[in-house]
Subunit: 195 residues, 2 copies
């Protein structure tokens, strides 16, 4: 018996809501125990991408914006959505340019996650970006952003104490901090952030 | 001018789907630039909780299950949903007992995140748990779980390379790893996991 195969049986499924970004489906199911149940899922039409941009002074670049679903203001690494059909790196480069007016010569993929797997299929890919230079910003006209630079280790401390709360941001900053302490960072970044 | 106040105007809102766990609302909005737009949000009725259980041999306890929204099998730390009206710790203790048949004498809150804030308001709280002892497992009858113990640092390596992909799991393992390297772990755990 293969314990990793799908134990759910879908009896009936229907799309109950759809917009440009998500599709919500309701399913009548038999759960793994064989009992009748319901399962609502949220399909994300785009992949999430995140960027940890580190400048030559060891700062991380953060973006501040009001998150409508949370009804709260949130400081995060530059993030956005990209088509599943193009490489995540291209989407990440676009977000860094659009949100921060920055391009980076050096990129490294550092993390890949499923963000909320009890209900959604949203996936994220996160990159470390360095050797930054300024380019004209092209903010999405629906966004209203602030951009700030803070020392990298201050960002890590804020993630640790729940002051930065976005999951992609928290995981990415912890990942880069661990890379620093395990000697896995490119020399240029290790020198800039210190420790 | 307060840059952190809500720049979205809701013209009209309606619930388009609801079940025991989520509520999906469609909003006709004016976006931050003043343009007409749409925003679909997913409200989570429960708070997510996660537990990093570390045993006396330095293993982390993981749970394997098929995640229906992803259509994929996933190994994760013990997780579940709890009522917003009860302390997250109680929900975490219940999940550890139900999913793994374990209780822990020592608990420490280590992380608080918003999981997918472009669409949802789902929040998570994660705990470190140690000084474990076995109790009768009480698995939710709709779940079909496997439980495994792996060396803590192997779990961290699997998170780093995207083999463990769940965001709560990835962030929590990176957090505990960073605590280890920064000397912030309780002595009992630090000794058990080594390094």
């Amino acid at each position: 018996m293969d314990d990793t195969k799908n134990p759910w049986t879908v009896l009936k499924g229907a799309t109950v809501y759809e917009n440009e970004w998500i599709r919500v489906d309701h399913h009548e199911v038999l759960d793994p125990s064989g009992g009748a149940g319901k399962y609502g899922t949220v399909h994300f039409k785009q992949e999430a991408v995140g960027v940890v941009p580190i400048d030559e002074n060891g700062n991380v670049v953060l973006v501040g914006q009001y998150r409508f679903p949370l009804q709260a203001y949130s400081w995060e690494i530059p993030e956005g959505g990209g088509s599943h059909s193009v490489p995540a790196l291209g989407s990440a480069q676009r977000e860094l340019r659009e949100e921060c007016g920055l391009s980076a010569k050096r990129w490294m993929e550092i993390l890949s996650m499923d963000l909320s797997n009890s209900v959604t299929d949203e996936r994220s890919t996160t990159f470390l970006a360095w050797d930054l230079s300024e380019v004209p910003a092209q903010p999405d006209e629906t966004e209203k952003l602030q951009v700030a630079r803070i020392p990298f280790w201050e960002g890590v401390d804020r993630a640790k104490r729940g002051d930065l709360r976005d999951s992609i941001t928290v995981a990415a900053l912890l990942r880069v901090a661990l890379m620093a302490l395990q000697g896995e960072l490119p020399e240029q970044i290790a020198r800039a952030i210190g420790r």
